[in-house]
Symmetry: C2
Subunit: 413 residues, 2 copies
């Protein structure tokens, strides 16, 4: 039974993770939050106290940490006695935080693949570029490392595994659809760090089709989907971590990821990209100042955290799975709908951060209880989905299924 | 008889001015080009030699000069013996260059109103904000200062004066229409310094309607015009220097300026403006670097000078004048059509620079000959238009007139 959590990062998702850990600290124990900027960690601690989120008596503490520094992270894990590390910091940190977990035996949980800051849109196989190279190390050390335990990747991987185990004899395709039908009321804003947000879309789009990688340009392939609650929404083929793991682990011949974008978002993105303002390569002004254009764009855009109080509307994210069951063609859509305003009222972050953060806490609770504490590296679809989805039904992200005319909540008890 | 020219500035317009001066150096004498960057002046000198543009034997020389420094400019005028200064540098320099002319007795010619770098879109009366305050000084010193002697302002002022003198008993309205129907083949570029270009459009739009100033937002009032050669083109009400001088000097009740913009230009402009990327107020990046967003936009956009070799198509700029003649309503369109490619072949700049630079040289030739050497400050519409337009017919910008079904070249001999 592992206890005591170290949260790496202090952004919107870390805020959600801290609140959810606090709401479940009878299971999870002490909570520590660490990032480069101590004040941001302290603000999260203050907001947890303000909401009286701690279920049981217990500690929640802020720490300054450069998590690129493996020794410093190792020392902090040892000093705090944390046995589970939830890494929701920058995507550049994964490998160093994992190293600190290996050094201490603490379990590792993240919500997105590792990225090299010098590379934009790395080509697949994504997990095999960094994470999976260290499978052997984890197994030898008996260290549990759960990769991609947010919503997408994360819950959508559990949905695919559930469909694979219970709804199909064979799966032809998994289309993961991510729609944010919410509104922040600003001219333009990204829902998380603009630097990371834009990096996802400036290169090629990779999808897994007919058992091999296919490449498109961003916004080249769009399709209108008719979804529960949010209705008809246009989404575009986009590269995403789980396309790689699901295609390899569940051996599905078609795995595609579709991200919803409004025409306005696409227009702003296209203008900025074509002008060169999304470039991470420095330019020199007429006055001789060296500047990275993307960092200036980030500076003029609203801080994603500032959007939460005014955010209204819903997200709908799920897996449309097609295949064969008992000799007949079948199609199911397994999904969750989350509400921005409710998320803000509960944990002080908007719905996008909420859907990313809550599953990581569910994963931590299953590691704490031993159910997911495998002592090796695993993607979510390698783990039993029922306890995960049952817990998420209870702690804020209920799963529904739509098949033909029937649309109902899924129960896992 | 004044001789010897000092050109201030070394951009696209200065290039045109230098070539045209060289083509007429039998009248104008020595040519000196001065700007902060000596290399840019030297490049212009080299291009004049390369085209063998000098009509008669004579000097053309490059000088390094900060024209904000009145003493340095005064010294350069004295050292070179220049009696006519053509200021086609930044709009921030007008008042200091004028001071140097007053100190030396040299004639002053510019092509745009003075601007304070700290103010965006100053409110009218524009000329009365800076230039006209110094009318008395010029008259006392007997210094000729010709304001706004480019195309617009410049030729369009002469067109209005010609209409006033020869085509109408009373003028109801002057609509100045500026269409660039050319194509540079890039995703987006401005035709002159992006910093100055965008500054024109980020504030309010002022026009003179029914004998008073009226204010609109940029791109609020658009109208499709059917023009010679370039056909149907959409243009938008825009603030412009000559709206002020024409309304005051010719006492016309309606003076409006219409600038042509394609939907694509407006879209890019709108995105950049709404995001705050056209701001001249510094922002701070996450890394703590202070940057002026507009200067970064300028750094990523193509250098306007680099567009010239690939520029194709035509400009059409003119005055649509409505009023009464002999008791009957009358409407004439007096205009010029210029060609980007021909301009580049002749002087190495595109058509926008060509139309701005050639009239300034015509003004200098009329000062040299004495016809426009009034010994005081004047806007173009205060000067006889016929010698100016006759000269421009001959040196590259012929004037045409359209009235009803008839469209013909105007001859002034």
């Amino acid at each position: 039974m592992k206890k005591n959590i170290l949260i790496i990062g202090a952004g919107g998702v870390a805020q959600v993770v801290a609140h959810k850990c606090a709401q479940n600290n009878d299971v999870l124990g002490d909570i520590h939050i660490a990032s480069r900027t101590l004040a941001k960690c302290e603000a999260i601690v203050a907001s947890v106290h303000e909401k009286k989120a701690l279920k049981a008596d217990g500690r929640i503490e802020a720490h300054a940490l450069d998590a690129m520094d493996v020794e410093a992270t190792t020392a902090l894990i040892e000093r705090t006695g944390a046995r589970i590390v939830i890494n929701v910091g920058s995507a550049f940190l994964n490998m160093s935080v994992l190293s600190a977990c290996l050094a201490t035996g603490a379990a590792y949980i993240d919500t997105a693949i590792h990225e090299d800051p010098r590379k934009i849109c790395e080509t697949p196989p994504w997990y095999a570029n960094y994470e999976w190279k260290r499978r052997g190390e984890c197994e030898q050390a008996g260290v549990t490392a759960i990769l991609g335990a947010g919503f997408d990747p994360g819950m959508v991987n559990a949905y695919a595994k559930l469909a694979h185990d219970e709804y199909f004899d064979s799966i032809e395709s998994v289309d993961i659809i991510d729609i944010n039908a919410g509104s922040h009321g600003r001219y333009f804003a990204t829902n998380f760090d603009p630097e990371i947000n834009f990096r996802e879309f400036t290169g090629q789009v990779w999808s897994w089709q007919d058992g091999k990688w296919a490449s498109n340009r961003m916004f080249e392939v769009g399709r209108e989907w008719d979804l529960p609650v949010v209705g008809k929404q246009k989404a575009y083929l986009t590269g995403h971590d789980e396309v790689h793991s699901l295609s390899q682990i569940l051996k599905v011949p078609n795995v595609r990821f579709w991200m919803g974008f409004g025409d306005h978002y696409i227009n702003v993105f296209t203008v900025l990209k074509n002008l060169g303002l999304l470039s991470e390569q420095p330019v020199k002004t007429a006055e001789g100042l060296e500047v990275v254009p993307l960092k200036v764009v980030k500076a003029v855009l609203p801080d994603p955290g500032s959007l939460a109080p005014d955010y209204t509307g819903k997200t709908c994210i799920g897996d449309l799975v097609r295949g064969v069951k008992d000799g007949k063609e079948r199609e199911v859509f397994i999904y969750n709908v989350a509400d921005h305003k409710e998320a803000f009222q509960e944990v002080g972050s908007q719905g996008i951060s909420y859907t990313a953060g809550v599953p990581a806490v569910a994963a931590a609770m299953l590691v704490a209880s031993g159910e997911w504490d495998l002592g090796k590296m695993a993607n979510v679809e390698e783990l039993p989905p029922r306890p995960f989805l049952a817990l998420l039904n209870r702690i804020g992200l209920p799963t529904r299924i739509r098949e033909g005319e029937i649309d109902r909540e899924l129960s896992f008890s």
